[in-house]
Symmetry: C2
Subunit: 364 residues, 2 copies
């Protein structure tokens, strides 16, 4: 490891594979022997187009994305897609623009609020009564047959809850925000109509948004859909109706290659389970730390926890930083601590954190 690198548990932007970053440096000055860096070449030139198509193919391979799904690399983050999704899909509602939302935390609340600008954004289920400590139980969902789609967030980074698998919702397309769990585990893409994700957690650089959309859902955009978010137009133009985030696409491609080299999703999923288990076991056996999430719905990417004696919070953060462990402060809306442990967080990082936490508890 590069000697000055530390363990960074930030929720996103987040730690990235060191070998990808080490390669990116020289590529900024001259990429592929071109004499110009990756930031400087035309997005429509042969070198970058190859980089784009390779990245698409790597993602298709890694996630086993069926051929009847388009992969788009867009601008605007997942919050941008919170508008783009209703703009592209809500017209599929049987009696006017409408969609159902499964509210499991902050991100689905935000998604629903944005969607309500464009039509009826129904709360089909919510776990707010349980302080978002679980995914709403499937048998409580009140889905409308008139809705264009059902929106959920696979993994809520703030509350630390994660869907154990894709819920069955019948014929209505399932639209899922995978910003914080994409590529962290195997998923059956065919269970979803749309999968979308900001890139700044498991994929790379902030600015890039991945949209994976089933082809039969293209072509229904409202006339007021901004062109850069019209999925059909972007699908017909290789995501390039304007200059895409070229550097973020390059980084994504390199991260995909890195992931393949690690052994792909089957390998990383195993490591991710192991990483999460180390921390949850520690939390469950601790008399200082506590995690409140329903064990069935615990996130393997974001592990929020609290010190039972909150007066120790500041000391915990500062001693952790001194031990080379940063980014552990919990989201401002809930407080406490949070360890975000995406694909690029190594087992060694988890072990360091666990050792620190045990030592801190021992001395507390």
């Amino acid at each position: 490891m590069f000697e000055h690198r530390i363990f960074n548990f930030a929720p996103g932007p987040a730690t990235l594979p060191e070998e990808v970053l080490a390669q990116a440096g020289p590529d900024l000055l001259s990429w592929q022997g071109l004499g110009a860096g990756v930031l400087e070449v035309s997005h429509r030139g042969p070198a970058f187009m190859q980089c784009y198509f390779d990245a698409i193919q790597h993602l298709r391979d890694l996630m086993s994305i069926p051929q009847n799904y388009k992969i788009l690399f867009l601008h605007g983050g997942a919050i941008g897609q919170n508008a783009a999704i209703p703009l592209n899909l809500m017209r599929l509602g049987k009696s006017g623009p409408q969609a159902d939302f499964i509210i499991s935390g902050l991100w689905t609340q935000k998604s629903r609020l944005e969607a309500s600008k464009f039509g009826t954004a129904r709360i089909a289920a919510s776990s707010d009564q349980n302080q978002f400590r679980q995914i709403p139980e499937r048998d409580t969902w009140d889905l409308s047959p008139d809705s264009a789609y059902v929106h959920l967030c696979d993994n809520e980074t703030v509350g630390g809850v994660e869907f154990p698998d894709a819920p069955h919702v019948g014929q209505i397309p399932l639209v899922a925000d995978f910003s914080s769990s994409i590529l962290s585990k195997s998923i059956d893409v065919s269970q979803y109509g749309v999968i979308f994700a900001g890139a700044q957690k498991n994929i790379g650089a902030a600015g890039l948004t991945i949209v994976i959309v089933r082809e039969d859902l293209l072509g229904y955009a409202m006339p007021t859909t901004p062109s850069i978010w019209d999925w059909q137009i972007q699908a017909q133009n290789d995501s390039m109706i304007n200059t895409p985030c070229t550097f973020a696409i390059y980084i994504a491609g390199e991260v995909f290659k890195w992931l393949k080299k690690q052994g792909g999703i089957p390998h990383i999923e195993k490591v991710n389970r192991q990483k999460a288990q180390i921390l949850y076991t520690l939390l469950d056996n601790s008399s200082l730390y506590v995690n409140h999430v329903d064990p069935r719905h615990r996130s393997k990417m974001n592990i929020p926890f609290f010190l039972k004696d909150e007066s120790l919070n500041e000391r915990f953060i500062s001693q952790a930083a001194a031990a080379g462990l940063i980014g552990l402060k919990g989201h401002k809306s809930v407080g406490g601590m949070r360890a975000s442990i995406y694909n690029a967080m190594s087992l060694a990082g988890i072990q360091s954190l666990a050792e620190f936490m045990q030592e801190f508890e021992r001395l507390a």
Copy 2:
């Protein structure tokens, strides 16, 4: 100069200052001694927030942006703003959503088409009858007092026409696309209501969009404006209602510092004039090359030219590449050649190109 770098005349993404790129490499692995790279740190953490505020201040200094203008760093490119501008401003129209467009080439045509999704997008003037070889003469503009704003593109990269200065349009806010000319010359910001620009030409990395907006124009967004493009909301949240393009903001800040070190706008404007003059003088004295643009409106950033014998085009491109001069192919819609010579293109690069062109003509 890094030994393998060549001269890159691509229209954008485009060549960047080598010293900025050389610094960015190490910063990807560890930035500001943090032990984490610039891609990996939280956008809301103290290091990145300082980087953001510094970049804003550098831009304000460089362009002498008055205090009653907000500077936003957004997602989605200038093409994204083609939707965001009418969404934010068209409601200011006196008898319904309406805006005026000065059509001077491909980019203003695109901007108008996108705006027409949200209201009446009037053609107040157009130079299409002159194959966009000039800016429409000011005395032909048919401005409507009912329009919310007048939209123009300061520099059209495809046709190679540039406004010599800000036109007078009375009280109606002037909205100007400066994607290809921002920071290339001194401009009087107070003459504009809104200045916007994609970053991938004079500022840095594709993905970042700069919006400079007079404060009294905030607060009129249509209810269907996506949150990430609601200028007022973004102004109240330091451009961070979602994760911004952190790397592109970092690069922008470094380019701003580089530009200050060069002597700021007064210096770069002088160099840019000199660079353009070398090439236009060559073109005007050539019997092989020709530029068709009205000399009053010739761009100092993008210089399109044609070989009178078009059968030589391919040889020109390949010999130029062999001489270390790339990115010279003209836009597909007009053909021929184009030298894009933004701030980071050195005088040495222009001299190399000029020597190559003269030698090519001599041997042709």
